[in-house]
């Protein structure tokens, strides 16, 4: 029989039937159902298993605070563990499985844990599993890990996309119940920019769950009418299915909009969810309240749920959890559930009320007393009641509603470490004074539990938030009763009475925690795991606090609460990552010759988001080494070309430009002639080398400074710091021109011959000597820049043109160079040539090396003040035994000298205590025919020619090496000046 528990009425669309399956069994429900309501409609109460004891679990709530009815929703790569059946919107074809079970949901083999529950009390694992030591990882832990956990991931890549977005508003209203709607109407009519967000797909909050009236219409109808008006206001943005997850600093809120979760799969190109960053000048929190359960023996059976949830299922979803329902309450609200269900033809076994002055009813029996135990293995069958007069009664019922009062939803008021305060009237915590800046709380979230209170509160909050004057408009007539609550947390003498139904924390555990001295609320939480379930304790914490307070002889506010932390409800990691996945994790930077290099079949390498050509394989070359060796030899023997656009470039202008460079470089620039370039070493203020590059003086008041590719940004930031914060009256202006110019290194003995065919000026050695620089034109008129600088150690130039012409210039160079067999080379060949010359690069400028270490100690001018000069003089950075950059070559030419290997004295012991230094950069030198390396060696300057052991135990290398000068090729630098 289908939908046996479906009632009349409700807000579901009976014309739209949805087929769905749960644990392989087919069911039907209607649009407007959640998975939970549809399952209940079909008489399914058992929906899950608890975390530790694997006890049978059914729904406890009808909202996002649900701790029990967690399922694996969808199949394949879209499988989504721990999805709350109470918020999962039903759609046609929905597929769900129960989780955290071994075997079937009905016969979970791990339910054996429940038999041993006496051994598995709070913190039992801290006291055992220690012997023998090795067994923990080999035996105990794997067992525990497999038993633990809830749902499972598919481990396939998430096929959906997620967006991020940014919205600004004057007023953010969180929650679209009576308070939120009234606040939105008030602010919206006043013309304010309003965002109204609600986690539910239906707007109206509790109004959809109640039979109360507002004015002359039902609460739900009033909500619908309010929505119609709000939709007509252009300044109001309504965001259903949107959960505000956190209140961050200065009015920034995170919110997740579930764009496609109510569909089988998202539409093409559309995101599954969107993470909105909301910038709100003011915020009204109208998040409502959550009813709390009562602790009694075996209060966790499927069918036992919050009375308010029973009401929601009946009134909104037209569903009852069972044909016979009992209520256990300590306030009038429980009776409301009984009345509503009775009106819908559900048999009320009885209302059990702990209060002597409980309201009576014509329609059903009201007992004064307490529910002391229940029966039913996979679902509730009977409830045992101990009446005030001492008589016992057994109630036949398949559902039992618990009504222990309401907890205002103060979660978001605590995200900036605000603490809630105790309100004795409703025996609950309400928002304290230390709210996030700009936040006002309204309605049930503020402890105003009546509908009239919510409407008033919403309007008042809007006026307060917007600073609107004047009296409140008259509110429509509606329910305005106190709930007459008598605080009642747990039934005397109960033991296996559940507080945290997901984590299986019972009253007994709280007592044990107190007995063992874990009495602070944080200790209680951490020792028993109370409140650490996926509902963050929304349904469980208060009971535990109350019991701890009683045991400790304190009041509940004295015990205090744990801290609520974002997110408000668990949030997909995917949506927090957004589009920044796979290739889009970081933006790519392409060089001007990228298109051309791709045509050449170049292999690219990532450097600071740039994709640089690493080498250019040619037909017949089987290893990268072949290509790189060829590129190096071709360059050294004739001419090569390499895209060096990625080097950072900063335009430095102004009458104080030279004085400015004198500050940021440890060596001098004041006397550099116009038309000349100089190498510069930049120190951090702590005296450690920061970066190096060249500065070309194009005019008296104009320099072009280059940085390494990786440091372009930090160096620019540093230069602006020096300019703005240290020397604000220097006349110097900075701007990055890294991407404005395409720059190529043309290197090798034929470089001048090649370039002479392209540039319009005389670049003979006399006209354009080593380290010259100039603004020139090429190809008969295109503006360009030429620098005679060399990283390779060859006669070399760097030529730059506006980026748009970079591709054309590269092709032009290749044409002009054909007669010299010009060879493009990549970063590998570049690296080989700079190692052959002993030039320091990133591996040497590793943030711990000084100018002295780099063999440039004398460059640090003592005649002037520069950043880092003073602290570079500290004793620890000077004197004997300092690391010094050296060259390293194998004694046996066939041996490798791998980077990362450590240097040890010949015949000395091999351990950290005797470490002499390490290799920073290594390569095979095709010119020398063997491996070479540069590295740092203690007192290296005085150890040239020494033989040492080079060890890399990690990669199993152990060879003898000779220490040499780092300048392996052309130490005198004659080629540069040729």
């Amino acid at each position: 029989m289908t939908q046996m528990n479906r009632l009349a009425g409700g807000q579901i669309d009976r014309n739209k039937t949805c087929k769905f399956t749960f644990d392989g069994k087919a069911y039907t429900g209607h649009q407007g159902d959640t998975l939970a309501s549809a399952l209940l409609a079909n008489g399914v109460r058992l929906m899950g298993r608890s975390f530790k004891y694997h006890r049978p679990r059914g729904v406890l709530t009808a909202g996002s605070e649900e701790p029990n009815a967690l399922v694996e929703l969808r199949a394949g790569a879209r499988q989504e563990p721990n999805t709350r059946a109470t918020t999962a919107e039903l759609y046609d074809g929905l597929f769900a499985k129960s989780q955290n079970r071994l075997g079937s949901l009905k016969f979970d083999l791990l339910a054996i844990n429940d038999r041993f529950s006496n051994f598995l009390t709070a913190g039992f694992y801290y006291k055992t599993f220690m012997w023998p030591a090795a067994f923990w990882e080999k035996l105990y832990e794997p067992i525990i890990r497999n038993a633990a956990g809830l749902g499972s991931l598919s481990l396939e890549d998430d096929p959906d996309v997620y967006d991020k977005g940014f919205l600004h508003c004057d007023l953010l209203i969180i929650g679209a119940g009576p308070a939120g709607l009234m606040a939105a109407l008030t602010a919206g009519r006043a013309g304010t920019d309003v965002i109204l967000a609600d986690e539910d797909f239906a707007v109206g909050g509790r109004l959809n769950s109640e039979t109360l009236t507002i004015g002359d219409q039902s609460g739900a109808a009033w909500a619908a009418q309010a929505m119609t008006e709000l939709r007509s206001l252009p300044n109001v943005r309504i965001m259903p299915r949107t959960t505000v997850i956190g209140a961050f600093d200065h009015g920034i809120y995170g919110a997740v909009e579930r764009v496609s979760d109510h569909m089988h799969t998202p539409d093409a190109g559309k995101p599954r969810q969107i993470l909105w960053r909301l910038y709100a000048k003011q915020t009204i929190l109208a998040a409502g309240a959550i009813e709390r359960p009562i602790a009694f023996e075996n209060n966790d059976r499927p069918g036992i749920m919050l009375a308010s949830a029973l009401r929601t299922y009946a009134n909104r979803f037209a569903v009852t959890a069972d044909k016979r329902v009992a209520i256990f309450t300590n306030n009038d609200d429980g009776h409301r559930t009984a009345a509503d269900l009775h009106a819908k033809g559900v048999k009320i076994s009885a209302v059990v009320d702990v209060r002597p002055d409980a309201p009576r009813s014509m329609d059903y029996e009201v007992l004064q007393g307490e529910v002391v135990d229940t029966k039913g293995r996979l679902g509730l069958t009977f409830a045992e009641v101990k009446q005030a007069d001492g008589n016992m009664r057994t109630l036949e019922c398949g559902a039992l509603g618990m009504s222990g009062g309401w907890n205002p939803n103060v979660h978001m008021t605590c995200h900036q470490r605000g603490r809630p305060v105790w309100n004795a009237d409703i025996a609950a915590f309400v928002p304290g004074a230390d709210l996030p800046a700009g936040m006002v709380v309204a309605g049930a979230a503020n402890g105003d539990l009546s509908t009239a209170g919510a409407l008033r509160g919403g309007a008042a909050a809007a006026k307060q938030a917007l600073g609107l004057k004047g009296r409140l408009p008259t509110m429509p007539e509606t329910e305005d009763k106190p709930i007459n609550l008598k605080p009642f947390w747990y039934v005397e003498g109960c033991s296996r009475a559940w507080l945290d139904q997901q984590n299986d924390v019972t009253v007994k555990d709280v007592k044990l925690s107190h007995q063992e001295g874990f009495r602070s609320v944080e200790h209680l939480k951490r020792y028993t795991t109370l409140g650490m379930a996926t509902d963050q304790g929304k349904t469980s914490n208060m009971g535990g606090l109350a019991i701890m307070a009683e045991l400790a002889g304190k009041t509940i506010p004295e015990v205090g609460t744990t801290i609520f932390r974002p997110p408000y409800t668990p949030t997909a990691i995917g949506v927090l990552g957004g589009r920044h996945r796979g290739q889009e994790f970081h933006p790519k930077r392409l060089t001007p010759s990228h298109r051309w290099a791709t045509e050449q079949g170049a292999i690219f390498v990532e450097v600071g988001n740039w994709l640089r050509a690493q080498w250019f394989p040619r037909k017949g070359e089987t290893t990268w080494r072949e290509s790189v060796d060829r590129e190096v030899l071709a360059t050294r023997n004739s001419v090569g070309v390499c895209d060096v656009t990625t080097l950072g470039k900063v335009d430095v202008q102004g009458t104080d430009a030279a004085a400015f460079l004198n500050k940021i470089y440890c060596n001098g620039f004041a006397l550099l002639a116009v038309g000349k370039t100089r190498y510069g070493l930049m120190l951090r203020e702590d005296g450690i080398a920061m970066d190096d590059g060249t500065a070309a003086r194009l005019a008296e008041d104009h320099f072009v400074v280059t940085t390494t590719t990786a440091n372009a940004l930090p160096v620019y930031r540093h230069m602006e710091f020096v300019r703005q914060c240290l020397y604000p009256d220097m006349d110097v202006q900075l701007i990055s021109t890294t991407e404005a110019w395409a720059q190529y290194a043309v290197a090798g003995p034929n470089s001048r011959n090649l370039l002479s065919k392209i540039v319009d000026q005389d670049i003979s050695n006399d006209a354009f000597p080593f380290m010259a620089c100039a603004n020139i034109t090429i190809c008969g008129g295109l503006r360009a820049r030429l620098f005679r600088i060399s990283f390779s150690g060859e006669l070399a130039y760097e030529i730059a043109v506006p980026t748009a012409y970079g591709d054309a210039l590269m092709r032009k160079i290749m044409d002009a160079g054909a007669e010299f067999d010009v060879t493009p080379y990549g970063t590998e060949a570049l690296g080989v040539m700079r190692i052959e010359k002993g030039h320091a690069a990133g591996n040497e400028l590793n943030g711990t090396t000084t100018a002295l270490n780099l063999g440039m100690g004398r460059m640090v001018s003592k005649k002037k003040d520069s950043i880092g000069s003073t602290l570079s003089e500290r004793e620890g950075l000077n004197g004997d035994g300092q690391l010094y950059q050296v060259g390293i070559k194998p004694v046996d030419a066939n041996d490798p000298v791998p980077a990362g290997a450590h240097l040890m004295n010949a015949d000395g012991p091999i351990d950290a205590a005797h470490d002499q230094g390490y290799v920073t950069s290594a390569c095979f030198s095709p010119n020398l025919g063997h491996a070479i390396a540069i590295g740092f060696l203690k007192d290296g300057a005085n150890r040239m020619g020494e033989t040492m052991q080079l060890v890399s135990p990690l990669t199993r290398v152990h060879v003898d090496v000779e220490i040499t000068s780092a300048h392996f090729i052309d130490p005198e630098g004659e080629r540069l000046r040729a």
């Binding site: 967006d163 919205l167 910038y279 990228h594 110097v732 021109t737 890294t738 395409a742 008969g780 054309a808």
Partner: protein
Amino acid sequence: MHDLQPLTALGGTTAQIDSFAHITIAENDGLALASVAARLGHEAACHKTLKKLLGAVPAPGKAVLHDPEAGFWMGPDQWMIGAPRETHELLADTLDALFGKTASVTEQTGAWVCFDVTGLAMPDLCERVCALPIRKMAAGDAQRTMIHQLGCFVIRRESADHIRILGPRASAGSLHHTLITAAHAVA
């Protein structure tokens, strides 16, 4: 005259245009750009020349949408000047001569990729890619912000459904991809 063929920032020989329902994303390859930074002590003179050039000095966060030269504020005492490339290929030299010693001029033409985003869904697209209060921006507002981790200038043009985005040229492809996927999501 030289024979070197320029490429657009997206690597083509002609500018790229992508159209969606309510959104058009057009690569704008026609801009010559140069930055102008006032020399210390010459701010007044520099402002004067700017006013002469653009009709007004762009205030912080603002652009002066003037023809043929337009300009927007980049930072304290620093502006970006733009003009059509076919008529102003040598914009930087021209400005250098115009401002003389009162400002430091730096060519920026090659440093940027420019996209014109137009259409009714433009604000929705903007809300998916950057934190600017796009619906509150007025014609001539020019803000620098982050799009896909890239520092970009966003300029609200005369028409309410038109923004111009200047982004780092080397990342033109990544920026374009970001705008296209956002367009798919909102169109």
